[in-house]
Amino acid sequence: MIPKKKLWIGLFIMLILSPLGIIIPKIFNAQGPWGEWKPEELTRHLGYIPEKLLKLAGIWKPLFPDYSFGDIDSGFASHIISYALSGVIGIILIILIIYIISRLIINNEK
């Protein structure tokens, strides 16, 4: 049996390493994924912006867009920290939601 603790430690190591997910693309000067461009990037590619795309694109204001707490001026170092902290927030929310779902659907003591 692998102790659960060992698996949590594995996830924790992933969390610590997670900023590599923005550092390595930065080193290679990579853009985002295909098909996930923001409206202004799309305008640069196309020369125009699809009308309804623009309207829908602003429908939701996430709390931490792009896993970042700061604004564009906050710099890359701060993005690295907020990226890892976003991982922490994500995991806390996941545990919370899975716990709630489990409480709602599992009522046996098997």
Binding site: M1, I2, P25, I27, P50, L53, P62, L63, Y67, G87
Partner: protein
Amino acid sequence: MHIPDGYLSPQTYVPLYLVSFVFWSTALKKMKKNLSIKHIPYLAMASAFSFLIMMFNIPIPGGTTGHAVGSGIIAILLGPWTAVIAVSVSLIIQAIVFGDGGITAIGANCFNMAVVMPFISYWVFNIVRGRSLDAKRLSISAFLSGYIGLTLAALITGVEFGIQPLIATGVDGRALYSPYPMSVALPAMVFEHMLFFGVIEGIVTFLLFKYFAKHEYDMIYALSKREANK
């Protein structure tokens, strides 16, 4: 592969919400029947794992990035229906809190990465493995499970992008939503996953499968289920 808001027309995202909803409610019913308290930490860990692995963006030639999803290994370890919930929870938080994937596209993104992918991965694993317990065969099954699962999920995503110019075009002939035709969207999505991200997904699936097969053989859903059905 996280489709943002605006790229899909309502004719696309509404039906995909409905499809995902059917899978969510079926998955919850199955979990209610089969899952016990002792499984809950593993469910949470699986969901956290998919959240974390998606944070590792990998640059590829051509200037774009992408990442593994983890649905394949979760389906092998915990079963495809449990994977539906684990990965959906992670995707929904990504969309709502971090704007990774659109709010309107939650149904689509969950369908692609939390429904298509775990089921394809699970089937591929079972088909390639057959009834074999040979270590080499199991390893190949695990790799192909992740590789084909992610590549087919990318293919479906490419189709969703590609049909937009066909179903939603303004009077001036310009696309209203995602502007790239099938001939651009489909190859872009499929080739970058076939050549790069699928391989990474395959390796992740293979390595984790190896680890669990060595230390926690009895826990692996895809193996225990098969034996129990004999």
